[in-house]
Symmetry: C2
Subunit: 342 residues, 2 copies
């Protein structure tokens, strides 16, 4: 289906654009009262993730309400470990929790590389419904967690400040670690290809815990598997967002991907110099700027757009939008991008 | 009193050393069974912090047991907000918790700049006892939190993944923020000077949450106040450890301090180039390397020492030692530093 608004695709491919496209990580979520109304009518977060019609509805809300240039399918990176054999719960105000974690090579061997069309059919159905209802208005972004980030949850069983259990596994049992990362990678490639087949126009890989690793370890256990994913995905543009991995920007720039996400700590001009001219950059306003007044949001957004330049940039925050941000402030950011003249 | 082992002082001042000095952040703590024995005989962490004889005892334990080249007074950065009027509890397995937080300018005005000799006498007494018992064997390090990090706890009331409440305050009420930071800075200068008068041979400022700020905000709300502290402390060498503030290494190198701490993400040679030749660097082995086998610990330590060079380096981890690390592994790291030949 031809897209009415293909700014995100053209920006990803390095083609000319009339203006910079804009969307926000976590745009489908708690910032919108319309989302909260649906969410509160259900038993929990997972029921929403697992009900394709509702997942599609909240995916489209920010397109209608905020005017973003892309939708991102409402889901969670943890559906992958669940499909591989480690079910999780999303505990209110605490975050994800896994009853079983990976501790031994037997645990790794017991994990399956799932039939994603079966185990993750609810995500693929949500993508199909969303694509149909979007009717070509804007592109739909699919996504998955990067292998290292998924590995971290599989070992830790929950979030962590230090991820020391997951890092301990890398240092103390590199063989097990590589075997597990390989299995996650194989699943992720199948999963992203299925999302693309279902209709995703772009895919993004989230390496949320990249920044906890040393440079050497991120090369050995992180980028290595992100590279395998990038090399396998040729159907649509692919974005890699390795939060905190400032030390690896040069190597990220060598990946076979279209776009690199920047967090708000990363200097824009330095990142461009390290990553090179052949990648689109995505980001990177500090999400807390949206706590300022309207004038400041506009000023900071304009400064950011000026530094990135017109082409090869997708405007976004440097992290997911925080749930207590007012939608008016989000719209202010989006409108500032749309009205900026390079 | 003359120090028998003044390697840390000489390294801080850029003088020649026979070998690289070594100590570990959080060396006095849960890694040592001797610490846990004392800790478990008490009602909680704070009783230990507030009992000078016992704080001195656990401060000296790593000198005797591990053979480090410095002691660091056993205390907590949160004694400062408490002395200013915000008492805290240390909740087992959860971390610090403040019943009252700063929300308004009235709250800021209600805070006191305390008489540290009165309100924080227990820390100063612990320093005096420690100095006496150390009897010149190694230097004693005093410390305080940096104003931005203390500010974060005062606003959030506890740890946070995003510190979005504290950052919201910076963006939405910069006047209140500067007033509060100024008040914390004034207290911190008095507190560090009192520690030095009590016997601290070196002081360190911990900016644990520096890395959560954008570059611009760290300059405006972070380094500005660390600079005031560095400019005020001329009695002994001062170290600044701004965890995660890789983006501000150039400005950190311009501070009127002796030593800059590096976390394990920061490339050693790049950091030296950014910070310049006139500072000592402290760090920066990934704390998780101590989960590896002895041979790997030795190899990684040797690689680190080679990159830093012989002078203007204090060996340490890039973060506090994790509580489940075996003391044997810590000793392996320390011995590797001591036996390394440049």
């Amino acid at each position: 289906m031809k897209l009415d608004n293909d700014l995100l695709i053209r920006a990803s491919e390095g083609k000319d654009v009339e203006r910079t496209p804009v969307w926000l990580m976590r745009q489908a979520g708690r910032i919108l009262p319309q989302y909260r109304a649906i969410r509160n009518s259900l038993s929990g977060f997972k029921e929403l993730v697992e009900t394709p019609e509702l997942a599609a509805e909240v995916t489209i809300q920010p397109v209608d309400i905020l005017g973003v240039d892309a939708a991102i399918i409402f889901s969670d990176i943890l559906v992958v470990p669940e499909a591989m054999g480690l079910p999780y719960q999303m505990i209110e105000k605490k975050g994800p929790w896994f009853e079983n974690t990976i501790q031994s090579i037997k645990d790794v061997n017991d994990l399956v590389i799932p039939d994603v069309n079966d185990q993750l059919s609810y995500v693929l159905d949500a993508i199909k419904i969303t694509k149909n209802e979007l009717d070509g208005r804007v592109p739909l972004i699919g996504f998955a967690g990067a292998p290292w980030t998924i590995f971290s949850y599989m070992i830790e069983g929950q979030g962590s400040k230090t991820f020391s259990k997951a890092k301990k596994m890398l240092y103390s049992n590199p063989e097990l670690s590589h075997k597990l990362l390989q299995k996650i990678t194989a699943t992720t490639i199948k999963y992203l290809k299925a999302q693309i087949k279902a209709g995703a126009d772009v895919v993004q890989v989230f390496d949320s815990w990249a920044g906890i690793l040393s440079h050497q370890q991120y090369l050995e256990f992180g980028i290595k598997y992100v590279k395998e994913i990038c090399d396998a995905i040729n159907e649509v543009p692919i974005t890699v967002f390795s939060k905190g991995a400032y030390f690896a920007r040069k190597e990220l720039g060598e990946l076979n991907c279209n776009t690199i996400g920047l967090d708000w700590n990363m200097d824009i001009l330095e990142s461009r110099a390290l990553i090179g001219q052949n990648k689109t950059l995505q980001g990177n306003l500090d999400p807390c700027v949206l706590y300022s007044d309207f004038k400041s949001i506009e000023n900071q957004t304009n400064q950011m757009l000026c530094k990135f330049g017109k082409n090869r940039h997708i405007a976004n925050l440097g992290h997911g939008v925080y749930p207590d941000i007012s939608p008016d402030k989000v719209i202010c950011f989006i409108e500032a991008v749309k009205s900026y003249e390079h």
